[in-house]
């Protein structure tokens, strides 16, 4: 993507928050690709001699009721949590791009109908729409991804539509029409790439948000089920011991918060940069 080619001076003006976010995301990517680099333990190794230990030097996040090292489980859970986040965001984006482009390009009647459909979809909060789908299909990894993806699609669809309407007014679009390019060629070569510009930023924001939704569902016991080290499932598993071993609940939650904050902050920075580059 050309989006990465930032102006040299802009690259130098890095805020501390951005640096921290990049570092956090880098650690997450390592946990995603090679969790073995961040921990030497096995996420499923049961040790009944050391159950429910509070955080210490040997167990940074403490241990759970089966003596499994919580830090190791969080590291290995990254893959599943991000898998859900990526899957749900990708699904939402596909729906959003199709709806947004059709509405933005067709305008008129088709646009009105699609926009009204989006208004209706907006009346359903993401969590409740997800719960309705889970009630119908039963809780599973696939249902969670589909539920969160469909739930968050309308917001993105509205953004894509706005972007298409904005870009099609640009001078270079009119110029290429005037030069005699076919409608399809203009859409493919100019409109599509330019309207897609903010998408990298939107996806970064979307992944963080999807992880929060999915872990919320798991927390309610309606998402990914406990033996899995998915972050929400860890929260669900820790609930029984909340009064005696609160770290089982607070630390995985903190990881979700930090990961989401880093992704959100990075997404916002990208958004500002790309807006600047588009001018």
């Amino acid at each position: 993507m050309t989006a990465i080619a930032l102006p040299y001076r802009a690259a130098l003006r890095l805020r501390p928050a951005t640096v921290v976010s990049v570092l956090v995301v880098a650690v997450l990517v390592v946990a995603l690709i090679a969790p073995g680099l961040l921990t030497t333990r096995d996420p499923n190794a049961i040790d009944l001699q050391s159950t429910l230990l509070s955080p210490s030097w040997s167990h940074w996040f403490g241990t759970d009721d089966a003596g499994r090292d919580l830090y190791t489980r969080v590291v290995y859970g990254t893959r599943e949590s991000f898998g859900i986040g990526l899957g749900a965001t990708a699904l939402a984006m596909v729906i959003a791009i199709v709806l947004g482009f059709v509405a933005g390009l067709a305008r008129g009647f088709v646009d009105t109908v699609l926009s009204r459909i989006l208004d209706v979809a907006f009346a359903f909060p993401v969590l409740l729409l997800a719960l309705l789908l889970i009630a119908i299909r039963g809780p599973s990894l696939g249902t969670v991804i589909v539920a969160v993806g469909i739930g968050s699609a309308p917001g993105y669809a509205r953004m894509v539509r706005g972007q298409v309407l904005h870009v099609r007014q640009a001078g270079y679009i009119q110029a290429s029409h005037a030069l005699g390019h076919t409608r399809w060629a203009v859409i493919r070569q100019h409109l599509f790439p330019n309207a897609m510009r903010p998408l990298v930023a939107m996806m970064t924001l979307g992944i963080g948000q999807s992880i929060v939704w999915a872990s919320g569902l798991a927390f309610l016991g309606l998402g990914v089920a406990p033996p899995s080290p998915e972050w929400g499932a860890l929260l669900d598993a820790g609930r029984a011991a909340i009064t005696t071993s609160p770290w089982l609940e607070i630390l995985p939650g903190l990881v979700i918060v930090v990961a989401t904050l880093a992704l959100t902050s990075l997404g916002r920075t990208l958004q500002h940069r790309l807006e600047g580059a588009a001018r």
């Binding site: 359903f124 929060v212 927390f219 939650g253 989401t260």
Partner: protein, 328 residues
Amino acid sequence: MTTAVLPRALSVPSWVRTARGALLKIATAAIVLVAAASITFFAQLLVPGDRATAILNQQTGRAQQYTTAELAPVNAQFGFDRPLISQYLDYVTGLFRGDLGTSYTQHRPVTEIIGDQIGPSLVLTAAALVTAWVLAVGITLLTVKRRRAVSALGSTWEALTASLPPYWIGVVLLVVFAVQLRIFPVIGETSARGTVLPVLTLAIPLAGFLGQVTRDEFEKVLDQPFITTARTRGMSDTAVRLRHALRHSVVPAITLSGWALGALLSGAVIAENVFGRPGIGQVLVTAVNTRDVPTVSGIVLVVAGVYVIANLVVDLAYTVVDPRLRAS
């Protein structure tokens, strides 16, 4: 919104246009509600397998096939034996009579189930909305356009709290104030003392969000000429903030209150779950677990309805309050 093409003198009186606009908005809201109801109706058809079999299995706790004779009374009770179109029309017209169908597991009207449990949830939601507003306005008034460190503190706090997931805030509040400090009860009660922590769980992230919106607007307003005028008249900083800037800066956040009500009701599902507090959220989670689709759809539809009506009210109140919107 349409712009008046006719010159003022020839156009219809303004109150007629206002009334017409209001009627149009009410009609649109009604259409959105019917469309939302259609979605929940057709969603029920997506239940895998035969619904009557699923209901019987749910009742008996078994997973087996039944004979047509065994399924017949269930099909008749829920109307599955009737043509789809008449089921659909029944469902939609039923909504206007306050009928949301019958629960698969409790075998009583969904409206009754919701009616029994919605009280504590409404108290929680309303209290959270008020608390969020007080927090947001208070923090904005105190920190916006002050010394750099103070302003930065305010906006960092907002950015941080706005992105906290409700289940995590709930857990932290529970552990700190109920388990460790023992100020509030651990097990959810609907008493005032038991309501404090759930309310804060919902109010803190919402306050962060409303605060961000209000702060942006506040900063813009403080740069406006009429603020400078007020200052040159010798008005104190506090008076300028309270009497002039505040009124303008809360407008965009008020628009979001309709949306916030929907968000709070869905957040209440999680807050009630964390604190074991009775309410519609608990009913919803149980219903999702037992695959009681009519109850789930009913609750989802009620929340969607609250969202649509709240937005309609905000929208209508606006045209009355803000003359700039009436003109266009």
